[in-house]
C-alpha cells in the first residue's frame, strides 16, 4: 500500500496518484491542477490587459476578447481559486481535527477527478470550435444567442466540475461533524476548520441552484426545451436569479477559507492567540447565513422594483458588520503580539488594508441608486478584484508558503517569496485601484476596446503595467517552487517554530495514516497548549493498536471519465437538428452524439454499480509498522 510507494518508479507513482484516496495526496492533486489553471487564467488576464493597454488596440479581435474574459473569469473562480482552496482544506482539516482521513475518502477522490475532467472539458473548447463568450455569468439571452458550441462547453464543463465540488462539500461537512478527535469540541476547532465547515455548508446549499440553472441552459441549447426562449414563453431572468443565488454565496465560499488561512497565520506569526475567537466563529456563521439573502444586489438594474432593491440593499449592508468584526479582531490579534515578518505573514498583513478597500466599495454598491452608476462598469471590476485578489489570492499565496512544508516537507525560499510579495502587491494595487476611477468616468466593463479621447488612456495603461508586474511576480513564484523542489531540503516537525494547531504536531513528511495514536485535545490551539504544558508531545487518546484505512481505488477516475465522455455526446446532440436553437442548428449533424452520450453514462453508471456491489472494506495498519515508523522518526530527529 501507500507505505511502499517510496521504492516505486514513475509509473507506479502516477498510478498511486490516479487511485489515491489519501487526503494529503488529493490535496497535492488539487494544488497541481488548480495551479495549472491559475496560470492559464493568468495568461488570459494578460491577454485582456494587453488588448486594453492602449485605445483601439487590435491585439485581440472582439470575439476572441469575449472568449478571453469569459474563460478568465470561469477558470479563475471554478478551476483555480476553489480547487486551490480545496487543496489547503484537504491538506489541513483532517490534521487539524485529529483524523486519519476524511469521512469519505472515495468521494474525496471522486471530487478531485470530476473537477479535473470538468476543467479539461471546459478548456478543450479552445481547440474545438471556440470558447464560451457570454461572460462568466453567461446571461441567458446572450448565451442562447451565442453561435457555436462555446456555451455548451461552459455549461457541461461546469456541471461536471460542480458535481465534484458539491461532493467535496458534503465530505468536509461530514468529516468535521463526525471525525473530530476526543476533546476537539466545536469551540476548540481552529478557524481554518471552522471556515471550511461554513464554506462547505454554503457549497451544499449554493451549488444545487447552479446545477439547475446549468441544466436549464443545457436543455435549451442541446435538447430543445424553452426555458429561456421568450417566443415560447421562456424567461431569461430565471437564469440571473439562479446564477446569483449560487453566485453570491460562491464569493463567501471563496473568501471564508481564505479568512481561515489568514486567521491561522496571524495567530502563528504574532505568537498570540486569536483575539475574539468566539466572535470570529459567529461572524463566520453570520456571513455564511447572510450570503444567501443578498443575491439580488447583483441585479439592481434588472428592474425588480424599488421594494426588492431596497430590501436587498439593506441586507447587503448588514454583511459589512460581521466582516468588520473580523477585520478588527485580526488587528487586535496582531496588537501586542510579536510579529515575525515571514512571507505568509506579509500576505496576511497586506490583506487587511486591501480587503478593507474591497469591502467598503462593496458597501458603496449596496446603496442601490448609486449602484445604478457602478453596475457593469469598471468600478465593479475593481471592486471584485480587490475582494478576490486582495482576499482570496493573497490567502492562497499566503497558504501556499505557510502550508508548503506541511504538504511537501520542504520550505519555499523566503527571499524569493518576499520579492514575489512586493512585486505582486504593488502590481495588484496598480492594476485595480485605478479601475475604480475608470468605472466612475463611464467606462463599461467587458469592452474589447475603447475609443481615444474619452480620458481612459492613461489609466488603462497604468492598469496594464500593474498586471504585468503581477505576472512577473507569479513567474518568480514558479521559479521559487521549481528551485525548492530541486533542492529538496527537508525540514522537520513544526518548521515555522510557532505552530499552534494540531497539524504542526506531526512529523514531516506526515505519515500516510496521519496519527499513530489519535491525540487528546485539551483546548484551543491544541499543540500550543502541549508545547507549554507537555514539552510539545500530544497526549494520545487511545492505546497504540492496529487501525483501519481505506483502499485505493481507480473507480473515481473511471466515473469522472464517463461523464467527460458523455459531455461530448450531449454537446453535439443538437448540432444541425431542425428543432435546435439558431445558434447550433446550422452546424453539421453528428449522428454519433446520442451513442457517445449513452456510452459515457454507461461507463459512469457501470462504475457506480461496481462500487456498490463490491465489498471494499479497506485494510489494517499494524501496530508493528507504526512502531517502526515512530522509531525511525525519532532517529531522524536526532
Amino acid at each position: 500500500m501507500a507505505s511502499t510507494a517510496k521504492k516505486q518508479g514513475v509509473g507506479s507513482v502516477i498510478w498511486e496518484y490516479l487511485t489515491t484516496v489519501d487526503h494529503k495526496k488529493i490535496a497535492i492533486l488539487y494544488l497541481i491542477a488548480g495551479g495549472f489553471f491559475f496560470v492559464v487564467g493568468g495568461i488570459e488576464a494578460m491577454m485582456i490587459r494587453i488588448q486594453l493597454a492602449v485605445p483601439n488596440n487590435d491585439f485581440l479581435s472582439a470575439g476572441l476578447f469575449n472568449e478571453m474574459i469569459t474563460m478568465h473569469g470561469t477558470t479563475m473562480i471554478f478551476l483555480a481559486a476553489m480547487p486551490l482552496l480545496f487543496a489547503f482544506m484537504n491538506a489541513t482539516v483532517p490534521l487539524q481535527i485529529g483524523a486519519r482521513d476524511v469521512a469519505f475518502p472515495f468521494l474525496n477522490a471522486l471530487g478531485v477527478w470530476l473537477f479535473i475532467f470538468g476543467g479539461i472539458f471546459l478548456n478543450l473548447s479552445w481547440f474545438l470550435g471556440g470558447a464560451p463568450d457570454a461572460g462568466w455569468t453567461s446571461y441567458a439571452s446572450l448565451s442562447i444567442a451565442s453561435a457555436g458550441h462555446g456555451i455548451d462547453f461552459y455549461a457541461l464543463g461546469l456541471q461536471i466540475s460542480g458535481a465534484g465540488t458539491l461532493i467535496s462539500g458534503i465530505n468536509f461537512v461530514t468529516t468535521i461533524i463526525n471525525m473530530r478527535a476526543p476533546g476537539m469540541t466545536y469551540m476548540r476547532m481552529p478557524l481554518m476548520t471552522w471556515t471550511t465547515l461554513v464554506a462547505s455548508v454554503l457549497i451544499v446549499f449554493a451549488f444545487p441552484p447552479l446545477t439547475i440553472g446549468l441544466f436549464l441552459l443545457i436543455f435549451d441549447r442541446m435538447f430543445g426545451s424553452s426555458f429561456f426562449l421568450v417566443e415560447t414563453g421562456g424567461n431569461t431572468i430565471i437564469w440571473e436569479h439562479l446564477f446569483w443565488i449560487f453566485g453570491h454565496p460562491e464569493v463567501y465560499i471563496l473568501i471564508l477559507p481564505a479568512f481561515g488561512i489568514f486567521s491561522e497565520i496571524f495567530a502563528t506569526f504574532a505568537r498570540k492567540r486569536l483575539f475574539g475567537y468566539s466572535a470570529m466563529v459567529f461572524a463566520t456563521i453570520i456571513i455564511g447565513f447572510f450570503g444567501f439573502m443578498v443575491w439580488a444586489h447583483h441585479m439592481f438594474t434588472v428592474g425588480l422594483g424599488p421594494t426588492a432593491n431596497a430590501i436587498f440593499a439593506l441586507a447587503t449592508m448588514a454583511i459589512a458588520v460581521p466582516t468588520g468584526i473580523k477585520i478588527f479582531n485580526w488587528i487586535a490579534t496582531v496588537w501586542g503580539g510579536s510579529i515575525e515578518f515571514t512571507t505568509p505573514m506579509l500576505y496576511a498583513l497586506a490583506f487587511i488594508p486591501s480587503f478593507t478597500m474591497g469591502g467598503v466599495t462593496g458597501v458603496m454598491q449596496a446603496a442601490a441608486p448609486a449602484d445604478y452608476q457602478y453596475h457593469d462598469s469598471y468600478f465593479i471590476v475593481a471592486h471584485f478584484h480587490y475582494v478576490i485578489v486582495g482576499g482570496v489570492v493573497f490567502g492562497l499565496l499566503a497558504g501556499l508558503h505557510y502550508y508548503w512544508p506541511l504538504m511537501f516537507g520542504t520550505m519555499l525560499s523566503e527571499k524569493l517569496g518576499k520579492i514575489t510579495f512586493v512585486i505582486f502587491v504593488i502590481g495588484f494595487h496598480m492594476t485595480f485601484l485605478i479601475q475604480h476611477f475608470l468605472g466612475l468616468w463611464g467606462m463599461p466593463r467587458r469592452v474589447f476596446t475603447y475609443l481615444d479621447g474619452q480620458g481612459y488612456n492613461t489609466a488603462n495603461l497604468i492598469s496594464s503595467i500593474g498586471a504585468l508586474m503581477m505576472a512577473i511576480a507569479v513567474i518568480i513564484l514558479v521559479i521559487n517552487i521549481i528551485m525548492t523542489i530541486a533542492k529538496n531540503q527537508k525540514v522537520g516537525r513544526d518548521p515555522w517554530g510557532d505552530g499552534r494547531t494540531l497539524e504542526w504536531s506531526l512529523p514531516l513528511p506526515v505519515p500516510y495514516y496521519n496519527f499513530a495514536q489519535i491525540p487528546l485535545v485539551r483546548g484551543l490551539d491544541a499543540y500550543w497548549i502541549e508545547k507549554k504544558a507537555n514539552n510539545g508531545r500530544m497526549m494520545p487518546s487511545e492505546s497504540l493498536e492496529d487501525f483501519h484505512m481505506p483502499n485505493n481505488s481507480f473507480i473515481p477516475f473511471v466515473m469522472s471519465f464517463g461523464l467527460f465522455v458523455a459531455g461530448f455526446g450531449a454537446l453535439y446532440f443538437a448540432s444541425g437538428k431542425d428543432w435546435a436553437i439558431d445558434a447550433v442548428s446550422g452546424l453539421p449533424v453528428h449522428p454519433w452524439a446520442p451513442w457517445v452520450l449513452g456510452l459515457g453514462l454507461a461507463i459512469t453508471i457501470g462504475a457506480m454499480i461496481t462500487r456498490s456491489v463490491k465489498d471494499d472494506l479497506g485494510y489494517y495498519v499494524t501496530k508493528e509498522e507504526v512502531l517502526r515508523d515512530l522509531e525511525e522518526e525519532e532517529r531522524r530527529a536526532k
Binding site: 444567442a145 421562456g234 431569461t236 468588520g324 468584526i325 501586542g336 467598503v360 453596475h375 468616468w441 481615444d452
Partner: protein, 442 residues
C-alpha cells in the same frame, strides 16, 4: 520590507488623489459630472458613501499601522511571549456598534432614493397608456444599435437620442434580441433592457450642464451583448424644450422620404430603395425595424454609433461593416459595387430634416457667444472637434502611431482636451482608413 511597501502605497494614493482632483472625467460621459437631477442625487449618494468609507479605510489603516509597527518582533525581542487575550467585550461592542451607525446613515438616503427614482407613474395615464403630457421615449436595444421611438408624436429615430432639457424624460426600455443595458453616465445610472417585459425609469438633463458638454452626451450599452458590445455607443442630443418640439415637428412632417437632389444621390436613392429599405426606413415610422431608422441620417453626429460623421467613413462602413462592428446584422445583407456604395452614401448624407432645427452646431455657437467671457475652458468648438477626431480613430490610427503617440496624446486629450494633436492625427490618417480597418476588424 513592510515600510517600503507602505510608502509605495501612500505614494500611489497621493498620485491618485492628484489625478482625482485634476479630473473627474469628461463632462459628457463621467458619472462624477452629473448633468441632471437623477445623476446629481446618485452622485451625492456616492459622495456620502465615499466619505463614510474613506473614514473607515483611514481608521482601519491607522490602527493597523500602529499595531504592526508596535508589535514587530525586532521591538519585542526574540523570546518575547505575548500575553494571550481571549477577547474584550467593550472593544467588541464598540466595533460592532460603530459600523452599524455608519450603515444606518447610509441606509436612509439609499432607501429614500431607491423609491424616489423608481417612480415613473406619471409616464402612464390611468388607462395604462403613454401619458401624452409627459416626454416619454421607447427605447429598443438591438445588436448593436438603438432605436428611439417618441410614442406621443409617432416619430421613430435611431442611434441618436434627442431629449429636451430641464424636464423629466421617461424611458420605456426593452431589447429585441439579447439583453442590453441603457446607460447615459452623465445623466444617471443605467437600466437593463430585458428581452421580456419593459423597464421604465426617468432621467433629467439640466440645460446649463448640457451646454457645458456642447449639448451632447455619450450613451453606452453596459451589458455584454456580443462581440461589438464595446461599440454600441449612442449620442444624446439635449435641446431646449422649444427646439426639441420643433425638431419633433420637423421629423413628424416627413411623410415621404426626402428626395435626393444631386445626381449621384438620386442614383443612390434608387439603389437604396432596392437594397436597403427592407431594414432601414427613411421616414420616421416603423418601430421595431431590422435596422436603424435613417430619416435624419445627414444630421447625425456619428456613423454606426461611433465613427465620425463623414462621407468617407460612411463608404467604408457600408463596404465592410464587419471590420467596424464584428457580428453586426448588416454584413452580407446586400451586394453592392463600390460605385453603388458611393452613391448610396451620397444619398444618405443628404437625408436631413429641415436645416437649422435641432442643429446642435447652431445652438453651440449661440452658447459660445454668450459664454465668451465665461470660464468653461473645456467647452466650445475645440473639444467638439477633439471628440469627433478621436471618435474616428478606430478607423484611423495606424499601428506605429498607437504605440507612441496614443498614450501621450491620449493623456493630454483626457486632461486638457487639447484639440491639436488628435485633430491632426485624425485628418492625416483618414486616407489610410480602409486598410488599417481591415486589420482592426479581423
Amino acid at each position: 520590507m513592510k515600510n517600503r511597501w507602505m510608502n509605495a502605497k501612500w505614494l500611489g494614493l497621493i498620485t491618485i488623489l492628484a489625478a482625482f482632483a485634476s479630473g473627474c472625467g469628461k463632462n459628457h460621459l463621467s458619472t462624477l459630472r452629473p448633468a441632471g437631477e437623477v445623476g446629481q442625487e446618485q452622485f451625492d449618494l456616492m459622495l456620502l458613501s465615499i466619505i463614510i468609507m474613506l473614514f473607515v479605510v483611514i481608521a482601519v489603516s491607522i490602527v493597523f499601522t500602529i499595531a504592526v509597527v508596535k508589535s514587530r518582533r525586532k521591538n519585542m525581542g526574540e523570546d518575547f511571549e505575548p500575553k494571550d487575550i481571549a477577547g474584550n467585550h467593550t472593544l467588541e461592542v464598540i466595533w460592532t456598534a460603530i459600523p452599524i451607525i455608519l450603515l444606518i446613515i447610509l441606509a436612509v438616503p439609499t432607501v429614500y432614493l431607491t423609491f424616489k427614482q423608481s417612480d415613473t407613474e406619471a409616464s402612464e395615464n390611468d388607462a395604462g397608456e403613454v401619458n401624452s403630457e409627459e416626454v416619454v421615449i421607447n427605447v429598443t436595444a438591438n445588436q448593436y444599435w438603438w432605436e428611439f421611438e417618441y410614442p406621443n408624436v409617432g416619430v421613430v429615430t435611431g442611434q441618436e437620442l434627442v431629449v429636451p432639457t430641464d424636464t423629466k424624460v421617461y424611458f420605456n426600455l426593452q431589447a429585441s434580441d439579447v439583453k442590453h443595458s441603457f446607460w447615459v453616465p452623465a445623466a444617471g445610472g443605467k437600466m437593463d433592457t430585458n428581452v421580456e417585459g419593459i423597464n421604465s425609469f426617468y432621467l433629467t438633463f439640466d440645460d446649463e450642464k448640457a451646454q457645458d458638454s456642447n449639448r451632447l452626451f455619450y450613451g453606452k450599452c453596459a451589458e455584454l451583448c456580443g462581440p461589438s458590445h464595446a461599440l454600441m455607443d449612442f449620442k444624446v442630443k439635449t435641446l431646449p424644450e422649444d427646439e426639441y418640439n420643433q425638431w419633433l415637428a420637423d421629423m413628424k412632417s416627413i411623410e415621404e422620404p426626402v428626395q435626393a437632389s444631386a445626381s449621384d444621390a438620386a442614383e443612390g436613392q434608387e439603389i437604396f430603395n432596392n437594397s436597403c429599405i427592407g431594414c432601414h426606413a427613411v421616414t420616421p415610422t416603423g418601430a421595431g425595424a431590422q435596422g436603424p431608422n435613417l430619416t435624419n441620417f445627414g444630421d447625425r453626429e456619428l456613423i454606426a454609433g461611433y465613427l465620425a460623421h463623414s462621407e468617407e467613413n460612411l463608404i467604408n462602413w457600408i463596404s465592410d461593416p464587419e471590420a467596424f462592428k464584428p457580428d453586426n446584422k448588416m454584413t452580407g445583407a446586400y451586394d453592392l459595387t463600390d460605385e453603388e456604395i458611393a452613391s448610396v452614401a451620397a444619398y444618405l448624407m443628404e437625408l436631413k430634416v429641415e436645416e437649422g432645427s435641432g442643429d446642435v452646431e447652431t445652438l453651440r455657437q449661440n452658447a459660445e457667444e454668450s459664454s465668451e467671457e465665461g470660464s468653461t475652458e473645456s467647452s466650445g468648438e475645440s473639444e467638439g472637434s477633439a471628440e469627433e477626431a478621436s471618435s474616428e480613430e478606430p478607423a484611423a490610427e495606424g499601428e506605429e502611431s498607437t504605440e507612441e503617440a496614443s498614450p501621450e496624446s491620449g493623456e493630454e486629450a483626457s486632461e486638457e482636451a487639447s484639440s491639436e494633436p488628435s485633430e491632426e492625427s485624425a485628418s492625416d490618417s483618414e486616407e489610410s482608413t480602409s486598410e488599417s480597418d481591415e486589420e482592426g476588424g479581423n
